[in-house]
C-alpha cells in the first residue's frame, strides 16, 4: 500500500477537530460525575468545572437510590425491556422467516405495511392507544408497556430479519426437509440458530430504544411504583430542582447512564451491525 499524501496542515486540522469533538462528548459526562459528588455550597460558590471537595459525597448516590425509588425504576425498566426484547424478537423472527422464504402476494403486502409503519410518527397513535389500553385495563401496568413497546419494535425487527433470512443458504433447509423435519422443526432447530447474530443485533437495538423510551412510559404509567427509569428521572428532576438537591440529581443521571454504557461496550460490534442493517437500503 502506498503512503497517503496527506499534508501536515491537513493532519493537524483533522486531529484537532477529532480532539475537540471527543472533549465535547466526554466533558458533559465528566461534569456530571464531578457534580454528582458535590454539595450545595460548592454548586453556589464555586465555578462549575472545579473538582469536588473532599470528602466526596458518595452519599448522593445512596440518597437518590433509596429516597427516589431508583431501585424500583431500575427493576421496572429491566422487566419491561427484557420482556419486550424477547417478545419482539420472537414475533419478528417467526414472521420474517415466512416472509423471506415463502413468496406470496399477501406476504408482500404485510411486509410493506410493516415497513411503512417505520415512517409514520408514533405520536399520531398515542391518543387512541391510550384509550385502547384503558379499555383493556392495561393502563398503569407493565404489561401494557410491554405490549406497546413490542408492537413498535416489530417493524425494525422484521425489516432487518427478513433480509437476514434471505441471506442464509437454502441448502441447509432443504437438507432438514429431506431428513424428515417439518416446517417448524426446521425453523427452530436449523434456521433460528443460524440467525443468531441477526437476532442479537435486533434485540440490542430494540433493547436500547425501549430502555430509553419516555413518551409512552409517561402517558401510560402514572403510578410512581411502576415508573420506568426515564419517566422516573423526568419526574425526579422536577422535584429535585424545587428542593435544590443538585448533587443527588446528577448522581441519578449518572446512575442511569452507567448501565447502558456497560452494555454498549460489551455489545459494541452487534450495535454497529444493527445500525448498519437498520439503515433503509
Amino acid at each position: 500500500m502506498i503512503l497517503h499524501k496527506q499534508n501536515l496542515f491537513g493532519r493537524i486540522i483533522t486531529n484537532a477537530v477529532l480532539y475537540l469533538w471527543t472533549a465535547a462528548v466526554l466533558y458533559p459526562l465528566l461534569w456530571t460525575l464531578l457534580a454528582s459528588l458535590k454539595d450545595n455550597p460548592q454548586f453556589l460558590l464555586k465555578e462549575p468545572w472545579t473538582l469536588p471537595e473532599f470528602p466526596l459525597l458518595w452519599s448522593n448516590f445512596t440518597y437518590v437510590w433509596s429516597k427516589y425509588g431508583f431501585g424500583s425504576f431500575f427493576l421496572n425498566s429491566t422487566i419491561v425491556t427484557l420482556s419486550s426484547i424477547f417478545l419482539s424478537v420472537f414475533l419478528a423472527a417467526t414472521s420474517s422467516y415466512v416472509l423471506a422464504r415463502f413468496a406470496f402476494k399477501a406476504g408482500q403486502v404485510m411486509y410493506y405495511l410493516y415497513l411503512s409503519a417505520m415512517m409514520i410518527p408514533m405520536i399520531l397513535g398515542l391518543i387512541p392507544l391510550f384509550f385502547l389500553l384503558n379499555d383493556m385495563g392495561l393502563i398503569n401496568t407493565l404489561l401494557g408497556l410491554v405490549i406497546v413497546y413490542t408492537a413498535s419494535a416489530l417493524p425494525f425487527g422484521i425489516f432487518v430479519l427478513v433480509s437476514f433470512f434471505k441471506m442464509l443458504p437454502k441448502e441447509l433447509e432443504e437438507a432438514a426437509y429431506i431428513d424428515g423435519a417439518g416446517y417448524s422443526r426446521t425453523f427452530f432447530s436449523v434456521m433460528l440458530p443460524l440467525a443468531r447474530s441477526g437476532l442479537i443485533s435486533v434485540g440490542i437495538m430494540n433493547g436500547l430504544n425501549i430502555w430509553n423510551e419516555y413518551i409512552m412510559g409517561t402517558v401510560f404509567i402514572n403510578d410512581p411504583k411502576l415508573y420506568t427509569l426515564p419517566v422516573g428521572i423526568a419526574v425526579m428532576q422536577t422535584e429535585m430542582q424545587y428542593r435544590t438537591e443538585w448533587g443527588p440529581l446528577f448522581a441519578g443521571l449518572l446512575l442511569s447512564i452507567i448501565p447502558v454504557i456497560i452494555i454498549y461496550f460489551i455489545f459494541q460490534r452487534q450495535i454497529a451491525e444493527g445500525v448498519t442493517a437498520g439503515a433503509v437500503k
Binding site: H4, G125, I147, P155, G182, Y214
Partner: protein
C-alpha cells in the same frame, strides 16, 4: 394432512398472530388518530361531537402551530447541515485520513446515541443553567465581563440551545453508517488513485463522495424523518415549548394539547398535520435528491 395444508397452516401460525397484534396496537391507533381529529372531544366525557374539519380550520388560524412548524424546520435544517457535515468529516477522518485511534473515536462518538433523550435533555438543561451550568462560566473566560445568558429562557437563543444537543446526540449513529459505506469501497480504487498521484482532497471529491452519496441521501432522509417525528421529546424535557411557546414544535404542542389540556380532537388534528408534513417533506426531498444523482451520473 396434505403437504399443501401443512404449509398453509405453518404460514398462518407464524404470520397471523404477529400481524393481528401489530394491527391492533400499531395500525389501528394510527387510523383511529385520523378519525379522532374530526371530533370535538376532551377524552374523558361521553359527549363527543363530530365537527368535520373544524379542528383543522382552527389549527390553521392558530399562530402557535405556525411557530411550531417553523421550529420543526429550523431543527430539520440545522440537524441536516450540522450532522451530515460533521458525521461525513469524522467518517472520512477515521477511515481515509487514518487519524490515530480510529476505533477509539468510533466508540466515544457513539456514546450520546445510547443515552436516553430524557437524560440528555436534563443534562443539557443544567449545562445551560445560568448559575450552575458550565457554559456561561466557560464563555466568561473569553470575555471581559461575566457572561450571564439565560440560554433556554431567551426567545432568540432557545431554539439554538435545543439544536446543539440534538446534533450532539445524533452524530455517532450517522458516522457509523458512513464508515460502513466508505469501508465497502474496494481498496483497489484507492490504490489506483494513489498510483495516479491523486491528492487526498481529489480522491474525496471524485471518488469517496460520489460512492457514498447513496448512503448520505439515506442518512439525510433519516435525519429529516426522525426529527419531524421525534424531536419533540428533547423540546418537552428542556423547555416544555417555552418561553411563551417560542420553542414549541408540532409534537410538543400535540402532547400539551392532548395530555395537559385535554383537547384530544385538536391534538389528533396536530397528529394528522405531523403525518402530512413529514410525508410531503420526504416526498419533495426524495425528488430533489434523486434529480441530483441523475445529474451527477
Amino acid at each position: 394432512m396434505s403437504q399443501q395444508t401443512r404449509r398453509n397452516a405453518f404460514i398462518a401460525v407464524f404470520l397471523l398472530p404477529t400481524f393481528l397484534f401489530f394491527c391492533l396496537f400499531a395500525l389501528y391507533p394510527i387510523a383511529k388518530g385520523i378519525h379522532i381529529s374530526l371530533f370535538d372531544w376532551s377524552g374523558s366525557s361521553k359527549n363527543k361531537h363530530f365537527i368535520g374539519l373544524d379542528n383543522f380550520r382552527e389549527l390553521f388560524n392558530d399562530p402557535i402551530i405556525w411557530t411550531a412548524i417553523k421550529n420543526d424546520y429550523f431543527l430539520v435544517v440545522g440537524k441536516v447541515i450540522g450532522i451530515m457535515l460533521l458525521a461525513t468529516f469524522f467518517a472520512i477522518a477515521v477511515t481515509r485520513l487514518r487519524a490515530a485511534g480510529s476505533g477509539f473515536y468510533r466508540s466515544i462518538f457513539f456514546i450520546p446515541n445510547i443515552i436516553s433523550v430524557v437524560v440528555i435533555g436534563v443534562l443539557w438543561r443544567y449545562v445551560y443553567n445560568p448559575n450552575l451550568g458550565f457554559l456561561n462560566s466557560f464563555l466568561s473566560l473569553f470575555s471581559k465581563e461575566p457572561v450571564q445568558l439565560t440560554w433556554l429562557g431567551t426567545e432568540n437563543l432557545a431554539m439554538w440551545s435545543l439544536l446543539w444537543p440534538s446534533i450532539w446526540a445524533g452524530i455517532g449513529f450517522y458516522m457509523i453508517l458512513l464508515i460502513a459505506a466508505i469501508l465497502s469501497i474496494p481498496a483497489e480504487l484507492y490504490e489506483a488513485a494513489d498510483l495516479d498521484g491523486a491528492s487526498q482532497s481529489k480522491q474525496f471529491w471524485s471518488m469517496t463522495l460520489p460512492l457514498i452519496w447513496g448512503q448520505i441521501k439515506i442518512s439525510i432522509l433519516h435525519v429529516v424523518m426522525t426529527t419531524l417525528n421525534g424531536s419533540f421529546i428533547i423540546v418537552w424535557i428542556m423547555t416544555e415549548g417555552g418561553p411563551d411557546n417560542s420553542t414549541q414544535v408540532m409534537g410538543s404542542y400535540l402532547y400539551q394539547m392532548g395530555f395537559r389540556q385535554y383537547h384530544m380532537g385538536y391534538a389528533a388534528a396536530i397528529g394528522v398535520l405531523i403525518l402530512t408534513v413529514s410525508l410531503i417533506t420526504t416526498l419533495i426531498l426524495q425528488l430533489l435528491l434523486n434529480r441530483d444523482t441523475t445529474e451527477m451520473a
